[in-house]
């Protein structure tokens, strides 16, 4: 598996999101929303697409994160739908999902795997 470094750990903001740029072959570039959920000493990283398929704007990274029934979620800042950070699934609409990417920390580097193949098939 190929891991690509996006940014440093201290570019992330605890319990909030940032947006990272991922160049692609067509030169169009792709926008990813990176989240760090921290409670006490526990920290988890998530990467999903930054495009809000409902609000039709690149804003997911600016949503509020939290949990719904134990599942980590982000709420779109535009119209407040919730998306699972694990599956990308929109909790309010079964037909809509965000693409989700595998993400890891390597030293201080935040990395994602196989960007051309998101873990889930949501549109990006």
């Amino acid at each position: 598996m190929q891991w690509i470094t996006l940014c440093k750990l201290d570019d992330l903001i605890d319990n909030s999101g940032v947006c990272a740029y991922l160049p692609d072959i067509e030169g169009q570039g792709r926008q990813l929303a990176l989240f760090s959920l921290r409670h006490g000493d526990k920290q988890q990283l998530f990467a999903v697409g930054n495009w809000d398929p409902i609000g039709k704007a690149n804003v997911i990274s600016r949503g509020i994160v939290g949990s719904i029934a134990g599942e980590p979620v982000v709420a779109s800042p535009l119209y407040k739908q919730h998306f699972s950070l694990l599956s990308g699934q929109c909790l309010e609409d079964n037909n809509i999902a965000l693409p989700v990417f595998a993400v890891r920390l390597s030293g201080q580097d935040v990395q994602i795997a196989n960007p051309s193949q998101p873990v889930t098939k949501g549109v990006c």
């Binding site: 903001i13 319990n15 740029y21 570039g29 704007a57 994160v65 939290g66 949990s67 800042p77 535009l78």
Partner: protein, 851 residues
């Protein structure tokens, strides 16, 4: 009955209108035509006087042309009916048109009786019945100093109040020895008189007016039979009503000796195809001059026409009102005329309270009651009287002020058939079934049963019933803000304050579960800010905020942001205007004057925000908090500095107020306004806090808002000096901040406060909870720790890191595209983006344009 009947309704007063609504429901096929003699469709005559308190004609309307069209009801306004041809089953209008009917309903109401006094037909001799009458009174009042009302009944006193409100010196002249002789006994009448005189309205009883002649000091002089005289500029007749039965007389229907169209229990007149309802109808020798009995007749007639079986069985004429701020109520046989009737009386002269119970000979049943000065027992007494319930062992306990030990008649004790709302004939059972069907909140119950939407007299009882029933059903109105906290906002506020909790994490650890969400995080952020006022972008708080707060700007549909600098009170120097123009030009921002007297700059990309603000701050601007649940704007009118009518410096005061409360985080946004005189150009009465200048100081209004459900603010206190004004606003705001629910504007908060405005006055003005000092101190702390969030934000590299489109690339968001329209930039639509190439795309030149 066949469905194609032509039903013609003459008169579209309250009762005629109610009939139409009832018939549409009962008989969907009927072809209904309404002939309104007035220039408009039905309006709320019962609340007519509120016209003087600022209600518009619009507010008073009970229906609208489009509503009637929707219902398939034909209507004509200004359609005065002159003649009925019973043979041909036709009615003829004044203008010569005629219409045929199968069934005719006369709902012609009544007209004010003007005693035949010589001189009663002069220009400023007026009556009080229609909107046009009120407009005439208003016009006349503007050219008058002294007004007199002839007639000291219910309406007369209401009219006197209107004159007083219009700023006139008001007199009431009554022929009988006492006021409200129909409803009150002698004791009640006396008590009412002294209360009303204490309010500055002169009462003259036992006075028969003989003629009206030209006055010496005023326009007119009233000369009385006893030789005395009274001068006035405006004369208002309110000497009773007469049933409008001229049509019936012309058509030779049976009418009463003293007027009124005789009807049977089905509301039919002597012609079985003609019905009469409302104030024009005479049933068993009685006219019913109230709206509730009229509505009952409307239901009966509609039922009969659609083959239903309702009967009119007479109606209760009990009334409760507030006249000139004095509570007055009369129930049933107030005069004790029933053979064998006995009475109990309680009088408290210092407090101006008079109460009387009339009971039957066996002291088992309540026959009637009179309440003056304190009508709080009305609901209970009325239920005893209406439902024939057994009185307690000592009936007098019902009216004695034996604090606490009064045998309260809970709504529980009422029989299921008890009428709660007589206007709309809603029984206790109806309310319970509405609740069974899922209506579990007062508003919902009102809208599905219509209870309490007529005269409003039953509002208190309905609320008690609903509250009690909810409690009984164990419906604990769930106030948990979300799945992470089993607390209401108010409870969380308390926990944060008492336990000195400083971060969301600490709050979650101690009192919550899970990770939080987009509901509880902003609530916690707001509570933390209201208590400690730390910088909202400080590390522990940044993730709690809605995106608007996080980026200190309002997100727009395309992911860009708007920039709203504070322009306190809307006052701005030319230099500052120029800076706004320059910044907008440089960053190609769309500019618009907002509804809050300031300028919004739209279309800023997130990475541009700090640069834009750096320039604005350098020019002396501050953040306008358009993004926060916090003080928005204090709107002002130009006030005494320029305006020829202004009596105080409204701009100066508005600026002071805006600067005082800017940055205060609250459950919802707060808007304020200050007007320089009663013309109210700043629209203060539509704000959470409204201030209107008076000759002596300031009138303070609270809990108004515009938006989805507009609400006029309530007058809270009058003629305040500036210090007191500020003190009250401090307390009011902080009490709201502490106790309101999340996203609850002050208007909704007030409606949810038990005890309403009076309670709020007690807390804020009388300091009944002993909180005043603490509220002021907390406000002082917030004011003392104010910072311009943008200034703080651009002052630190750490904070600025947040304002990047990408953490790893210096590029703009390629999805943000603009097109030009009317000389400015606006977001491109999806289609326009598809036609990408044809569009002048702003970020192609990512360098700002030189201004």
């Amino acid at each position: 009955m066949s469905n194609t009947k032509k039903i013609l309704v003459v008169g579209n007063g309250m009762v005629g209108h109610h009939f139409v609504e009832q018939l549409v429901g009962a008989c969907p096929g009927a072809e209904i035509t309404v002939l309104s003699g007035e220039p408009r469709l039905a309006y709320d005559r019962v609340h007519l006087s509120e016209f003087f308190a600022g209600k518009s004609v619009e507010d008073l309307m009970l229906t609208s042309e489009s509503r009637y069209q929707q219902l398939g009801v034909h209507f004509f306004c200004n359609a005065w009916v002159e003649r009925i041809d019973r043979q041909a089953k036709q009615v003829w209008l004044k203008d010569g048109r005629h219409l045929v009917y199968d069934k005719l309903v006369l709902a012609t109401g009544s007209y004010p009786f003007v005693p035949p006094i010589p001189g009663n037909d002069q220009p400023h001799c007026l009556v009080y019945r229609t909107i046009e009458d009120l407009e005439a009174i208003q016009a006349s009042a503007a050219q008058s100093r002294v007004g007199v009302v002839i007639g000291g009944g219910l309406l007369g006193l209401e009219a006197a109040n209107a004159l007083k409100q219009a700023g006139l010196q008001a007199h009431v002249v009554e022929f009988a020895p006492q006021l409200m002789a129909v409803q009150l006994d002698e004791g009640g009448g006396k008590q009412l008189r002294s209360k009303i005189e204490a309010l500055g309205v002169k009462v003259h009883t036992d006075k028969a007016t003989q003629q009206i002649v030209a006055g010496k000091h005023c326009r007119y002089q009233l000369q009385f039979k006893d030789g005395e005289a009274l001068e006035a500029d405006l004369i208002l007749f309110s000497a009773g009503i007469r049933p409008q039965d001229s049509l019936a007389r012309q058509a030779e229907l049976q009418t009463g000796e003293r007027g009124g169209i005789i009807i049977d229990d089905q509301c039919r007149t002597s012609d079985p195809d003609i019905y009469a309802i409302g104030e024009c109808a005479l049933w068993q020798g009685r006219i019913f001059g109230l709206v509730a009995p009229g509505y009952q007749m409307a239901r009966v007639a509609a039922s009969h026409i659609s083959a239903g079986e309702l009967c009119f069985q007479g109606a209760d004429m009990s009334t409760k009102l507030k006249l000139l701020g004095v509570e007055v109520a009369s129930i049933g046989d107030a005069h004790g005329k029933t053979p064998g009737a006995l009475s109990y009386q309680y009088q408290n002269q210092p407090l101006g309270i008079y109460k009387k119970l009339v009971v039957d000979a066996s002291q088992q049943r309540l026959l009637g009651a009179v309440l003056v000065g304190d009508s709080s027992d009305y609901d209970t007494l009325l239920q005893y009287a209406l439902n024939g319930m057994d009185l307690p062992e000592f009936p007098e306990s019902l009216i004695l002020p034996s604090a606490g030990s009064k045998p309260a008649l809970g709504a529980d004790a009422l029989p299921i058939t008890a009428t709660i709302c007589s206007c709309h004939n809603v029984s206790k059972g109806d309310v319970l079934s509405a609740m069974d069907a899922g209506a579990c909140e007062l508003g919902a119950i009102k809208s599905c049963t219509k209870a309490s939407t007529g005269c409003g007299g039953c509002a208190g009882l309905l609320k008690t019933l609903v509250d009690g029933e909810l409690a009984k059903r164990g419906v604990e109105v769930k106030k948990d803000i979300c799945e992470h906290f089993a607390y209401s906002r108010q409870e969380l506020f308390h926990l944060v304050q008492v336990e000195n909790i400083r971060t969301f994490e600490a709050l979650l650890d101690k009192h919550g579960q899970g990770l939080g969400c987009d509901i509880c995080k902003p609530v916690a952020a707001s509570i933390l800010a209201s208590n400690w006022n730390e910088f909202v972008l400080a590390t522990p708080h940044v993730g709690l905020q809605d995106t608007n707060d996080t980026f200190l700007a309002n997100m727009q549909k395309d992911g860009t942001y708007s920039v709203v600098p504070r322009v306190p009170a809307g006052e701005i120097t030319p230099d500052k205007l120029i800076v706004i123009g320059q910044v907008a030009k440089k960053y190609r921002l769309y500019t618009k004057i907002t509804g809050g007297q300031r300028i919004d700059l739209f279309g800023a990309r997130v990475e541009q925000l700090p640069d834009i603000w750096r320039e604005l701050i350098a020019a002396g601007f501050e953040t306008g908090h358009a993004y926060g649940k916090s003080l928005r704007t204090v709107k002002s009118c130009v006030g005494s500095t320029w305006c020829r009518y202004g009596v105080q410096d409204s701009v100066g005061t508005a600026i002071d107020i805006e600067n005082r409360y800017k940055g205060l985080r609250s459950p919802h946004k707060i808007k304020m306004a200050v007007s320089g005189c009663t013309r109210e150009c700043a629209e203060a009465q539509s704000k959470d806090v409204g201030v209107i200048a008076t000759e002596k100081g300031w009138n303070l209004y609270v809990c108004g808002n515009g938006g989805m459900k507009p609400r006029h603010a309530d007058l809270f206190a009058q003629d305040l000096d500036t210090d007191t004004l500020i003190r009250y606003i401090d307390r009011f705001l902080m009490f709201y901040v502490r106790t309101a629910d999340r996203l609850q504007r002050t208007s909704v908060w007030l409606e949810s406060l038990e005890g309403g405005l009076d309670y709020l006055r007690e807390v804020i003005i009388d300091d009944s909870l002993g909180l005043a000092e603490a509220l002021e101190a907390q406000m002082q702390q917030i004011i003392g720790s104010y910072q311009c969030e943008w200034k703080t934000a651009i002052g630190s590299e750490q904070n600025l890191k947040r304002f990047r489109q990408f953490v790893n690339a210096d590029k703009p968001d390629s999805n943000i595209q603009f097109v030009e329209e009317r000389g400015q930039w606006r977001p491109a639509s999806e289609q326009e983006k598809l036609a990408f190439a044809a569009i002048d795309v702003r970020q192609i030149s990512s360098e700002p344009q030189n201004a």
